[in-house]
Symmetry: C2
Subunit: 398 residues, 2 copies
């Protein structure tokens, strides 16, 4: 392939992604869903004007890395400390209940071969996909009603962030077990070794970077060095620890989320993300979609998957909130707010696909989950808030 | 190659490019020279920690496309109309004198096999490399002295822009002749066909885009659609007209340079450029550099190349200015201001290398030209202005 030949593919991808994304937003669906559908449209499934290629998969991998880095950068550690313990418990329960329920669902459908078997691992992975909350849509709905700064809103927000961190630790564990010969003790050692190393080293990097950021604020070198750090951590995680590169990228984001220019770095990274790499990732999922494999069983599994994923968060987080003396309706609000899934669930699914852990058919279930949860959550929240309103804060322009 | 494996290469490239670029700036050399040296340092020539790869060459191609698109976007057509004719003549002479002198230099060194021969084509290509002025350094020097808005400064600026346009038409012609079987008439037809089509179609696109930009100013879709347009034009130029993709990208930039959000698009494209793609291009030149092939003849040729390239612009543009009744010193100022070469010369050289028109050794000559002209021009201009000062405008902060 000559270098210029990829230009047409990229142009078609980013233009169709934008168009379908905007269309999706107009019908109140998440933009990523529009981007995936764009991929189905232009891919081998339908029009066949763009084919998946190794080159596109590299762009798409960089897209995922940038999304995870950005998610890390947007973490507000100060805010977390404040609403700390309650949100932490809700997040923990909100990770483990879906994890167990997801694994149970898979086992119910496909049977159980004992702990450590391939089926056990697949079941765990299906559970993993269910863990990651993407609160973007919830936040928007709460903002619209002017209740984001309320106790419920803040609890959801903090719990969703902690949920990401715990989710990624769980994913890291599960993925490290992919090699059937690996002992649990080695896996644990590797994961904790990586986490410990990156937090100790991360602290040193943070201190250095902070000093240096204060010396050269808002210069181009800041996002460039930050991005290099992200790439290096992602590479080191995968190459030397057998840990997913997205974990490395996310940790790089967390290391830098408290430097003064974190928002500046995030903006620059996002420009790269939304103009090039992220659409290639989401459209790429559509390109790789093969609708011919869909049968009754897959559809049944997908519907069950969606129901379990949503109920597990609703009930898990709701019950956890109940332990902290939230009122009944507030518990349901928190549970409902945590139901939405988005990019991260897709990223985990894609990781599983590319490692051959799960077959491509499962992405249908995940896409269905994203669409359903994104539509139901805001409607449900509005109902709950109209039944039991909170003192509404000023809808400030600021 | 697994997708994550490229992350380390990219990280090493962008970090070393930034570091060496800043170092170069500190010693008053152009930053791109620092980036090329970074490539020599980390490449097979010395440390050998990054090797050129097909993946990197795709990133680097996109880098070139973005640089040329940005150059097109930054064209100020209004400004051109004002200082129009004089600048046009200076630019024409400033393109053709170096073109002829460069070809003559090659012929003097390596002989002449008749018109249409391979040697003739190579000679023309060497001339092409000499045509493109990069006035960045001149502009900075004039700004520093507060004389950019003077008559000489404005003439240099306009001439340099027109020079780019004529240069790219000439390059397009020369490259289209690469196929020895191609008739001059077919080449002419293709080039003019493409130019005519892109200007007619470009006018329609411009009108549509302008309307639409006014409806959705400063939204993400603007730079995304603009970028797609650039990629599509680049692809169509290369695939259907046999014209360099960089020509297509440059024309896409010119088509959009008058929409209200041109600067906004340029900023977004530049973020992608400077964070990822452009450093990969410049470092890539260093990576591909093979210093082992350098011998006495190459060194002699390089020195002659630098001298001819600089004198051809100085004398050509100076004499042309003389026809418009500029004073003697002002003519020298204009000639000196047009001497600097930069990115575009490198891009043309790289095009020639990748098409096998010229051997890799010649990039040494071009790099030497960039370094020499960038150092001599500002010093020379300062001397000229201190001898014959212009009314200095306010050095405004605005």
């Amino acid at each position: 392939m000559k270098a210029y030949e990829i230009l047409m593919d990229i142009a078609l991808i980013i233009i169709s992604a934008k168009f379908m994304g905007l269309l999706a937003r107009r019908v109140k669906a998440p933009m990523v869903v529009g981007e995936i559908i764009a991929g189905v449209l232009i891919g081998p499934c339908l029009l066949n004007i763009v084919q998946p290629s190794e080159y596109l998969s590299i762009f798409s991998e960089i897209g995922v890395i940038l999304i995870m880095f950005s998610a890390g950068l947007e973490t507000n550690l100060q805010e977390l400390k404040k609403s700390g313990f309650i949100a932490f418990v809700i997040a923990c329960v909100g990770v483990f209940v879906p994890l167990v329920c997801g694994a149970a669902l898979y086992t119910a459908f496909y049977g159980f071969d004992g702990f450590g078997s391939e089926k056990f691992f697949k079941a765990l992975f299906i559970g993993c996909i269910m863990t990651a909350t993407s609160v973007g849509i919830t936040v928007e709905a709460l903002k619209e009603m002017g209740v984001l700064k309320g106790r419920v809103g803040q609890t959801i927000l903090s719990a969703a962030i902690i949920d990401d961190i715990i989710g990624i630790v769980v994913l890291t564990f599960v993925l490290s077990m992919k090699d059937p010969s690996s002992k649990m003790s080695t896996v644990t050692l590797k994961v904790f070794g990586f986490l410990a190393a990156s937090f100790i080293l991360g602290y040193v990097i943070y201190k250095l970077f902070k000093k240096w950021d204060e010396k050269y604020p808002h210069t181009r070198r800041i996002p460039i060095i930050a991005l290099s750090l992200c790439f290096i951590l992602a590479y080191v995680a995968e190459e030397y620890f057998g840990i997913a590169d997205i974990t490395g990228a996310y940790i790089a984001g967390i290391i830098l989320c408290n430097v003064r220019d974190a928002a500046y770095i995030d903006r620059k990274v996002n420009v790269n993300g939304y103009m090039f790499f992220a659409p290639i990732f989401f459209v790429g999922i559509g390109l790789k979609t093969d609708l011919s494999g869909i049968n009754g069983e897959i559809i049944l599994f997908s519907l069950a998957f969606v129901a379990v994923a949503m109920l597990a968060k609703l009930i898990g987080c709701g019950l956890a909130a109940k332990c902290f003396k939230f009122g009944n309706i507030d518990c349901i609000k928190i549970g409902a707010g945590m139901m939405t899934r988005g990019e991260v669930a897709l990223i985990i699914t894609n990781k599983g696909l590319s490692m051959g852990v799960i077959p491509p058919d499962y992405s249908t279930a995940v896409i269905l989950l994203i669409i359903t949860s994104s539509i139901i959550t805001p409607v449900f929240l509005k109902m709950l808030y109209s039944k039991s309103p909170e003192p509404v804060e000023q809808k400030a322009e600021s």
